[in-house]
Amino acid sequence: MTTHLIKGVSVLGGTPTDLVIRDGVIASGPAEGVEEVIEAEGLIALPGLVDLHTHLREPGREDAETVETGTQAAAIGGFTAVHAMANTEPVADTAGVVEQVWRLGREAGYCDVYPIGAVTVGLAGEKIAELGAMADSAARVRVFSDDGHCVSDPLLMRRALEYVKAFDGVIAQHSQEPRLTEGAQMNEGELSGRLGLAGWPAVAEEAIIARDCLLAAHVGSRLHVCHVSTAGSVELIRQAKEKGWNVTAEVTPHHLLLTDELAATYDPLYKVNPPLRSASDVEALRAGLADGTIDIVATDHAPHPHEDKDCEWAAAAFGMLGLETALSVVQQTMVDTGLLDWAGVAERMSYAPARIGRLADHGRPLEDGAPANIVLYDPKATRVVDGSETASLSRNTPYAGRELPGRVVATFLRGKATVLDGKLQ
């Protein structure tokens, strides 16, 4: 394995220093036997990013994304670990499917893939899947989610929260009250009324979050709230944390930047679940991420083939790409605004998601002896996002044509460069 010397890099934005990567770990002592030197003046080193919410689409929808292309997109975006959501075809609700996804990730080699197991059989919300079998499988599943669907039955949710305590699992809930969102298309507000698109009220998210926090407290288990999108949700999670309940939460990059005003274009690129919300929600989400109420940023990277977005709004699929732009969006919304420093970014995009997912080899400080999972990032670069140039198989980025700050220069997975000079290796 190549021994790298990264010269003059600013670890978490601190004083420039040198990093040596040898035998897959961050090495101490003199830089002996260096085979490749990376001049990294002006670059920031962050621990390899960890995504707790990725849709890799394989098995089943290889026309939208595969484990290989999805992990390539992840590496380009600075990620060294992604959690693959369970809503594949077949659903990842058995040990067999999660092991298949896990194995595909290992074969691809761009990024570690940690499968998420479905909470209920077939995501149908009726019967708990074999959570224990998935936890005990080679994929060692710790995160369980019916994402795309809410575990809306309160008794089923209670049982799932209780059951995963046996193997230190966590239920990652897609908080969407189904009856309150029948046919819903966009954030319910003044604009939905004007555009004639069925409204998706904030309360449909908040009611489930409130219930789940109470359930998690009652049974003493871990709850993770996926893609928080409203100011009211932030407030509920803040209250739960103040009570000492074991609740964590994520926000997506797009909910930190984009608002429901974009729906006025009727362009389904902006159709996503949960929907883009108002500017005041965006502000509350940023504040919540800054003060730690929201623990992490997770991409909810959701590839869709072109024809599923090149149509009328109601017919289009929900979801947008996120892996390749996440760090830039976080820089723009959180760092350049002064809400977070780079240590804060490392916490929210690497350390904390690795803790929630119970990953041992990811999300560790860049210290001697730690696995060399590193991203080198140039915060001074800018780029206009080209929607036709994605490592992902799909093109449904909501940022096409937008100027975003920053550029991932290199990504190392256990010392092996997956990206160098911004290009896949």
Partner: protein, 320 residues
């Protein structure tokens, strides 16, 4: 005017008044033995209907034919929401056939907007009703009807005229377009509905709202009843059809509280006995049949103004 008519909000007051005055000229054509103008000879108008709506389609068809346009009716029932051809492929097909204007009715809000702005077609797009969004030509024909009845006693405008729009505002494209257009024309609009059938954010529409029909209609100059679709019954928006009729239906007793000049309107199709009783629908105040006649004139005006450009609607010396 803009190249497309997608929303009543696309129309300035000047645009809207131009449509009304042009429609007035077109309407007088209906009284002549030969009801046809050569204005759009050689132009092709496609009626692209993804939803059944016989009355709107034949209204547009009559309008285009009276302007001598070639008309193609394209009924694409089923739409891309099921497994049929996508909106995009349908649009590309029409483009290849050389349509000058596409009149589209679609179940998805914003479908006409997509058609106009996705680069699929170059033709003018006229929204003939999209989902629960808008139906701008319906609003224009409604305004035209009001203007003909109320204008003469109000200085030739709708300024300050009180219009009550009653019923399922939440799902009504007619109500949205009317609220926008009537405000542009200076009228004062009150939307009357049970709270469950008023959209969130209606307070930003620049209109009044009320839950109390009896409190509103004695002051109104026009009362427009909206159709209540049977499928709303199962949505729990109101308990029963009978209760809805008691609270929000227009019957003979309520009609007796109207001012002498007040007209009663309905975009059709009516559910007699639900939102309007037969004696009201068939009364002298009802202009419901006239709305249909005016629909053709207004749609002629819209097609003419979008496609005919700056040329006058009639030639010099024509006694139109």
């Amino acid at each position: 005017m803009k190249r497309h008519l997608l929303s009543a909000a696309d129309l300035t007051r000047e645009d809207a008044e131009l449509v009304l005055s042009t429609a007035d000229e077109m309407r007088s054509l209906a009284d002549r033995p030969i009801k046809k103008l050569p204005a759009l000879r050689g132009r092709t108008v496609v009626n692209l209907f993804f939803e059944d709506s016989t009355r709107t389609r034949i209204s547009f068809e009559a309008a285009a034919k009276r302007l001598s346009a070639d008309v193609i009716n394209f009924s694409a029932k089923g739409s891309s929401l099921s497994k049929g051809e996508s909106l995009k492929d349908t649009a590309l097909t029409l483009e290849a056939m050389g349509a000058d204007a596409v009149v589209i009715r679609h179940g998805a809000s914003g479908a006409p907007h997509r058609l106009a702005h996705s680069g699929w077609v170059r033709s003018s797009v006229v929204n003939a009703g999209d989902g629960t969004h808008e139906h701008p030509t319906q609003a224009l024909l409604d305004a035209f009807t009001m203007w003909r009845h109320l204008g003469p006693r109000n200085g030739g405008t709708l300024d300050g005229q009180r219009i009550a729009i009653v019923g399922d505002v939440l799902h009504s494209r007619v109500a949205r377009s009317n609220a926008l257009l009537l405000r542009t024309l200076g009228a004062e609009v009150t939307l009357v509905a049970p709270p469950t059938l008023l959209p969130v954010g209606v307070d930003t529409w620049g209109v009044e709202t009320s839950y109390d029909l009896d409190g509103v209609i004695p002051k109104a100059d026009a009362v427009m009843m909206l159709r209540v679709q049977r499928e709303r019954m199962n949505g729990g928006f109101f308990p029963t059809a009978r209760e809805y009729s008691r609270r929000y239906g227009l019957d003979g007793r309520r009609m007796a509280t109207l001012q002498d000049h007040t007209i009663v309107m309905h975009p059709g199709p009516m559910v007699r006995g639900m939102e309007i009783t037969a004696d009201v629908a068939d009364s002298d105040r009802s202009v419901i049949v006239e709305q249909v006649t005016n629909g053709v004139a207004v749609r002629m005006a819209v097609l003419y103004l979008l496609l005919g450009g700056s040329e006058p609607a009639h030639t010099e010396g024509d006694d139109l």
